[in-house]
């Protein structure tokens, strides 16, 4: 009788060990969903998330004179963000493959030094992969002293493979106040 109940306790222990492993695994899986989500967003262009810095090589990219594409720029502040923030040109018309520079204006009207992060989004979503930025103020944080203003560059081109039916793109930036997150930190965080 004692033998039998001992055996049972043992096997219960085994079941518990296995199931605990499953539990820990699923806890990990919850966190794994974070990178999985990013990868899926990147693959599908969902969210309008644009890629990071694009290495432009003149030789590879010929300008397609036969098409014209209009790119519109939007700039908005996240709730509670006090900066003045706007594109200095509301739209440009360009040929695919043509490297173009536009500037965004930002001014910190508050009495404190603040750090901001701009997050880009492109519409329509299926054109996300065809807008390449070689230089963008959104690659790093922007720090402005009280009252300081700055003109921020964006250099980009449109890929020649942009689907035929897309003739107008919107690139919008939302500016977030990240002063709290970066106070006292010098290293920059890269967020596309």
């Amino acid at each position: 009788m004692a033998d039998k109940s001992d055996k049972q306790v043992m096997s219960s222990g085994k079941v518990v060990a296995k199931l605990s492993l499953l539990t820990v695994g699923m806890f990990g899986f919850g966190f794994l969903l974070v990178p999985i989500y990013s990868v899926i967003c990147e693959l599908t262009g969902l969210n309008g998330k644009t890629g990071g810095r694009y290495q432009y090589q003149q030789a590879q990219v010929a300008v397609d004179e036969s098409r014209e594409v209009t790119v519109q720029f939007l700039a908005s502040n996240n709730a509670g963000m006090a900066w003045e923030f706007r594109p200095m040109q509301h739209q440009v018309t360009l040929h695919p493959g043509e490297l173009t520079e536009v500037k965004f204006y930002a001014r910190n009207p508050t009495a404190q030094r603040m750090i901001a992060q701009a997050v880009p989004s492109v519409a329509p979503a299926r054109s996300v992969d065809y807008l390449h930025k070689t230089e963008c103020f959104c690659f790093t944080q922007q720090a402005l002293d009280a009252g300081e203003a700055v003109e921020m560059p964006l250099i980009f081109f449109i890929d020649r493979d942009l689907p035929e039916d897309v003739s107008k793109l919107t690139l919008s930036y939302t500016l977030f106040d990240v002063t709290q997150n970066f106070a006292g930190k010098s290293q920059a965080l890269s967020v596309n």
Partner: protein
Amino acid sequence: MASGHDDHHHGPAKGIKRWLFATNHKDIGTMYLVFSLAMFLLGGTFALVIRAELFQPGLQFVQPDFFNQMTTMHGLVMVFGAVMPAFVGLANWMVPLMIGAPDMALPRMNNWSFWILPFAFTMLASTLLTDAGAPNFGWTFYAPLSTTYATSSVTFFIFAVHMMGISSIMGAINIIATIQNLRAPGMTYMKMPLFVWTWLITAYLLLLVMPVLAGVVTMMLFDVHFGTSFFSAAGGGDPVLFQHVFWFFGHPEVYIMILPAFGVVSEIIATFSRKKLFGYDSMVYATSSIAFLSLIVWVHHMFVTGMPLAGELFFMYATMLIAVPTGVKVFNWVTTMFKGSISFETPMLFAIAFVVLFTCGGFTGLMLAIAPADFQYHDTYFVVAHFHYVLVPGAVFSLMAAAYYWLPKWTGNMYDENLGRVHFWLSFIGINILFFPQHFLGLAGMPRRIPDYALQFTDFNMMSTVGAFLFGFSQLIFVWVVIKCVKGGKKATAEVWDGSHGLEWTLPSPPPYHSFTTPPAIK
């Protein structure tokens, strides 16, 4: 209190120690059930505050922030405090009796998993008394409402959810270990009562998704306190990610609350139809299919977040597919009743109401599954009507049915049948007055979770509130029936019901404190 029975030296300990140090599955089951009844009344009180405010347009009783706290706390308390612990309580009481086991496999862990709960809910409810107020971001706690814009009580909420999760996970491990290891000789898997089967599958679902819930609240904790940006776009995160991780837990969660209900109803309908359950095997397979499908449909809660067409279509079809195994179940219940010699005692009344009203809730679920239609219904009272139809006349009615069905077994006394029927009819009428008009409100465009509404919604809201108070106060009859039954009444036989079958009915009512110390023989 339900199972006091002197059994030579092995009776229960005396006084409070019996409960604090309980390792007996019957005692722990009783504590779970009493706790969940208390939470049901607390969550119901919150709901009545909501309905009182919505009786008329404009603000009468509470301010919007407190209203939001009420909707949040009502959801959390009902889901995690009432329905889930009630089913764990039933499992504690009934699984060992149904499979011929002497107790749960892990009695000490069982004690722990129960006693975490009162602390978790005390912590959660205590936030109501603080200056910051209780969480007010809805029971789905979407970021950034629950992170960037959260009240300071969010930390209490996070730790309370962690504790509830730990409790559920330990409960699930215990149930799986019990079912795997402690079945009486001859009790093969395909001979197990359906309640045991549904709980086995539910326990696996719990293990698959409760850790993900723990993960998502941990990410919130980090975002709120440690400067990470899981859900904040400013730091490279994404609030929509929150919804994915949350609903990866949240959708299986609704099946966690309904699968054991399927088990209960399958037992009861067979008993009172005096027939064997029709299509036992198909019931087992249907339950497993539902559990599997529940893991791959979560995005139907997020149709309006901006999905590619392919995504919308996949999740729409996958969701509609759930209607197939669910339909199998409904047809099996109806076929079990077909040509049965049916009698309508209170448990059977609740079970039949379950089948009818849960099916109504299932149909509105199908409507919501249609992605283009969902754009119209999203975040309206139609959604509220839908999930209350599956959760109240669904899960809660099955719990009532289970309580009436097994109360004579637990206490040894018959409950008051007349009071039981009064309770059923008032609940049945109340629930339909309460939730049916909400379909119309939703279709007409009334948004959920808002304390005020446009004038044209007044009539249906008034009806709904009247129904809410009728339903709410009739639950006091249930409390009275339980107290009366525990105190005394006509002695119950071992079989209790005319058509009962299964091992639990071979034991006397109430069963001895330690039952099946030698395993029963299974024919």
